[in-house]
């Protein structure tokens, strides 16, 4: 307990940068839920695919640990593009291949849920087993070992202090992660709240039938939200590799579960709730790890979730993709 109180500033800064990544992933759950009332459990693997896209790219380009800034920055931007394309693409592919046929048949919600879990498992096994067996010899650094093997991704940026207040140090990684996450989220928020397509998304979220009466193509809106959620997960994947420096085929499970918790905590369906929930969860986890043994941190996240939902069943900010503004 004392270590937490003595170093509360440091723990908070660490927690915020951890939570910012959860928040980015949480946006994908929230966007899809807001429009389709579907919990897309395959979204955790959308994140995983992003980290693999980065790892493959860096391996092919032979990116080294801690390159000079003139190399690191373009490499990071390339990673963002590649992960955004891969995650956005896989999210869209899952929607078209798995969910669209179910919607056409008016399947009940439970079928969607089971399908989502199934797709999630398939993707984990494709990256954990199928690709290693089929193309492992082509890229042994990425697919050389099967299942749950931890694969290191070269660190692009060194952890260097940027600002020290008392014994709290904000370092380069904190700054990069938080600034990048906030920029992505502001971009998404502006898109949803200020553009014509964003208005279409909100209209479908509020009332799909009336949206259709106004000429909104619901199918296009659905594709759009899967891609947007995927791109945000791709950005999270980049920040994850910058902060943590490794990935594995099963990475989505824990990150996805935390991000989903963050989304529910903030109010699933609510974009700003995802931000709040993500940051809160990151901070709570870091605090909990400081007080107890760190193996308990996952438990704390869910304890907080249960407590919040007991008092506010719709999460902290309530559910409102449709009502994002007014």
């Amino acid at each position: 307990m004392n270590t937490l109180i003595d170093h509360i500033g440091q723990y908070t800064v660490d927690g915020v940068s951890k939570g910012a990544i959860y928040a980015l992933v949480a946006l994908g759950y929230t966007l899809v839920y807001g429009v389709l009332r579907l919990i897309n459990f395959a979204h955790s693997e959308v994140f995983m695919v992003g980290t693999f896209a980065i790892l493959v790219t860096y391996t092919v380009l032979d990116v080294q640990q801690y390159p000079a800034l003139v190399v690191a920055i373009p490499t990071a931007l390339l990673g963002l593009v590649v992960a955004g394309l891969a995650s956005g693409g896989i999210a869209l592919a899952v929607e078209r291949a798995a969910y669209l046929p179910l919607r056409r048949k008016n399947a009940p919600p439970l079928i969607f849920l089971i399908t989502a879990i199934g797709v999630s498992m398939i993707l984990v096994e494709v990256f954990g087993l199928l690709l290693p067996r089929r193309i492992g010899h082509l890229l042994p650094e990425v697919f050389g070992r099967e299942r749950a093997a931890s694969l290191s991704v070269p660190y692009l940026f060194e952890r260097r202090p940027v600002l020290t207040i008392g014994d709290t140090t904000i370092d380069t990684i904190h700054v990069i992660v938080v600034v990048a996450a906030v920029v992505m989220m502001i971009g998404l928020d502006l898109f949803i709240n200020r553009t014509r397509y964003g208005r279409g998304v909100r209209a479908v979220a509020q009332d799909p039938q009336t949206a259709a009466l106004m000429g909104v193509n619901q199918d296009r809106v659905i594709m759009l939200i899967f891609v947007l959620g995927g791109v945000m997960a791709g950005a999270a994947a980049l920040l994850w590799t910058i902060r943590i420096g490794n990935t594995q085929s099963a990475i989505g499970f824990v990150v996805g579960l935390k991000a989903f918790t963050a989304a529910v905590l903030g109010g699933i369906g609510n974009l700003r709730g995802a931000l709040l929930g993500g940051i809160l969860l990151g901070v709570v986890e870091v605090y909990a790890a400081a007080i107890t043994a760190s193996i308990w941190e996952d438990v704390f996240a869910f304890v907080i979730l249960v407590i919040v939902l007991m008092f506010r069943p719709t999460g902290l900010l309530g559910e409102s993709l449709g009502r994002a503004r007014a």
Partner: protein, 236 residues
């Protein structure tokens, strides 16, 4: 004929709600469709807008068979509806709701002109432009629903029970505005339970009873038809 329904059938599951109705709307007309609760008026409107598939018959709009056209494309073709119960987007501002009406349009100048026209018809909406639509009164929400549909600059404006839940004075006002919209050149198909107002404003009208058209004529004819007076105007 701008809009024509030929023997249109619509079913909910195994229950048929429309048993083959035929009606048409000529350019420039106000056509009323009147009928009691559950007659199938809303079902007819939803079929025209593409929210319910047909189980039989055809819908011809502007010479094109739109029976199987997607709902959003019907808006592009020039059909826009102010649905029953208004169905405004409560979380959006009044202005955003109006912008939703123009969702399929790209002609900025035309949209601005139509916004000015809607504000002209409904000055109240202009005062409340930045307000959340959910906070409007029932009458204001109806004005918003009509204004929103007008923002699509439809060839045919579809109105489903614009008088629903409004005080008599407000109903008269809404119908005056509907007449004005018609005089500005928009063709209108209006569904109503308030037969008095609808028939006195409409050029022609149809009477719908349990999924069948049982009568048609000019508004004036039906207004003076003894059976219609008894059934829909509360006159013995």
């Amino acid at each position: 004929m701008l809009l024509e329904l030929q023997d249109v059938k619509v079913a909910y599951g195994r229950i048929e709600a429309l048993h083959g109705i035929s009606l048409h709307v000529n350019e420039g007309e106000i056509v009323a469709l009147i009928g009691a609760n559950g007659a199938g008026k809303t079902t007819t409107m939803r079929a025209i807008s593409g929210l319910r598939p047909l189980s039989g018959g055809k819908i011809i709009f502007n010479g094109e068979d739109i029976s199987r056209l997607r709902a959003d494309l019907r808006v592009v073709r020039g059909l826009c509806q102010a649905p029953e119960g208004r169905q405004i987007f409560p979380g959006m501002t009044v202005l955003e709701n109006l912008d939703m009406g123009a969702y399929t349009r790209r002609d900025k100048a035309g949209i601005a002109a139509d916004l000015a026209r809607v504000y002209d018809l409904f000055p109240r909406l202009k005062e409340r432009a930045k307000q959340a639509a959910g906070t409007l009164s029932g009458g204001e929400q109806q004005m918003l629903a009509i204004g929103r549909a007008l923002m699509a600059r439809p060839k045919v404006l579809l109105l489903d029970e614009p008088s629903m839940g409004l005080a008599p004075m407000l109903i008269r006002q809404i119908f005056e505005i509907i007449t004005e919209i018609s005089q500005q050149g928009t063709t209108i198909l209006v569904v109503e339970q308030n037969a008095q107002q609808a028939l006195s404003r409409a050029h022609r009208a149809y009477v719908l009873e349990t999924g069948r058209i049982v009568k048609e004529g000019t508004g004036n004819d039906l207004l003076h038809d003894p059976a219609v007076r008894e059934a829909y105007l509360g006159v013995a």
